[in-house]
Symmetry: none
Subunit: 187 residues, 4 copies
């Protein structure tokens, strides 16, 4: 078990502090000074660890999408897989609301930042592929269009993160799950 170096620690601290700043004040409100202050170092020292603000942001992006990278493969029937997938997301929305705030910020910033767009597009493509594949399996309503259903899932999840509270977000996603689940598999 390699002991993390001081450097790694500090970098991680900075990334987390920047994450918190974005969650609190948005990308627009991200200030290297504030990040440094949160960690307790001089603002110029931030540049010792991240040459530019963009480098720091890139690390934050990595950090923010990490929870979605390490997803363990889903198991069970297609409907069970969808249920597990959406339930996981709902649970994350409840447990880590700030993560979804940051993701919203990232999605918006991606519009005008090529680096972020590339990273998020990759994540979305993977998400889209997985979900489309899921809906291509047998067991859904015969008139379900796999690609359209996948778009709907993605849109609903992203949009739910704008809900004024997690309960409303969860209600929206639960309703979506109910609608997509074939009648005979509903609880």
């Amino acid at each position: 078990m390699p002991k993390p170096t001081a450097s790694t620690d500090r970098r991680q601290q900075l990334v987390e502090a920047a994450f918190d700043e974005i969650a609190a004040n948005g990308f627009e409100g991200l200030r290297t000074r504030a990040v440094a202050r949160a960690v307790g170092i001089d603002h110029s020292t931030v540049h010792h660890h991240f040459a530019t603000k963009a480098d720091l942001i890139a690390a934050v992006v990595d950090h923010a999408i990490a929870p979605f990278r390490t997803g363990k493969p889903l198991t069970g029937s297609p409907a069970e897989q969808l249920r597990d997938h959406l339930n996981l997301l709902v649970r994350l929305m409840r447990e880590r609301p700030r993560l979804f705030i940051v993701l919203r910020e990232l999605d918006l910033r991606a519009t005008r930042d090529d680096n972020i767009r590339a990273i998020l597009a990759e994540r979305d493509n993977r998400w889209r592929d997985t979900t489309t594949t899921l809906f291509r399996q047998p067991g859904w309503h015969s008139d379900t269009d796999p690609e359209a259903a996948a778009e709907l899932v993605i849109a609903a999840v992203k949009g739910a993160s704008f809900a004024p509270d997690p309960d409303r977000a969860a209600a929206a996603i639960d309703e979506l799950l109910r609608l997509l689940t074939p009648r005979e598999e509903r609880p």
Copy 2:
């Protein structure tokens, strides 16, 4: 028919220019100088029309949600009303993509701007109420939860505006419409 004063024209010009700037560069990229340049006046003059940048932004917010205020009442069966409502939104997404870009920006900024949050919350509440009322009418699946369905509609529409192209957004909304429409009313 009152002829608009030059002043009124100028204000409107500024609002539209600011709208365009936000669509192009985001809130973060909104510069009063750029707005002034787009209109062809000196940047100081903007302050004759809008005391502060926040005032200009408030006017842009009003301008952006105007298309949703003047909605004529829906008619027909509940399913027809939902169909008309969502089709209108899809058509807007196709015809005025920049409007939805700006709305996305507004939704995000609302997180940290009380004025914007108030305006958008009002719009969302009206939207939520109308949609919930719609789902309270008879004719839906017996297990449809009106409030959850309304949340889902709102989430899906908001999330669809993050789709990489209008076709995908339309596919998601069409799929949602299909899922919500009772089997016997589907085309």
Copy 3:
């Protein structure tokens, strides 16, 4: 006679202040803050008149080589023309020592600044051409190589500006003039 606008005045003031700064502290020591302070305005206002520091420097370069642009045509015999030319330079060295300090700085900076190099190269080429042409006229020692003589004149003048005092610079240039002047035209 057009009355100079306030803007022109301020720009001119800034250029002269920057010139003085360079004479005093070199290009390396040129600070927009110091220039602003010398003129009595806030340092950010400098950017109202010159978008970037490079723009300000470009204006200083123009200002510095202006005395060499408006040279009236030389008259008389070739030897008299050379004498007048060098005497003019010696007089300038005595009367405006800071001008030559700045020119030295410019010559050095030209090594690494394309814009400055272009401007100075143009000046040097004109100077070289004029002087070569001068030495191509009849009346010089038969073994004078016009191009080499022109190079020597330019080198000596530039090098003389490194002399510890104007008298030494003048002595060098006078000696050069004596050496180049045909014996029969010497006083």
Copy 4:
């Protein structure tokens, strides 16, 4: 034969790297980090060898004027001595152009740096004395002013290093040599 310690080697390496940096980017572009990188050590370590940047620069100055310190005494007639002296300089200009770039930088910086000025003034005084003494010897034109001639030699050599290429520099110095050489000794 004392084997140089590692420390001595490192110091020398650093001085040469700093010399190279100045030749490439000027004094203004001299960065201790870049020097350290060129040598392959951490930038903090530079301070183990040179307490401050000024100390490093002082060593570079010494290194730059070394070629002029170890000049072996000139022999032959005065005209031959001048010829050998100038030919040596011309050869150096061709073989070590970067040396003259650095010397130019030094001469300029001397204007505002007391330490450098002192070192260079000493070199110039020695140069001036030697050259004046040379012109005081019999064999020159009767109207040659030894001190003025020495100033001219120094000015021309310094100025020649601003020539756009070594050929032009050489042409200027050769022409000077020709002009100074008594007619009866010219080849």
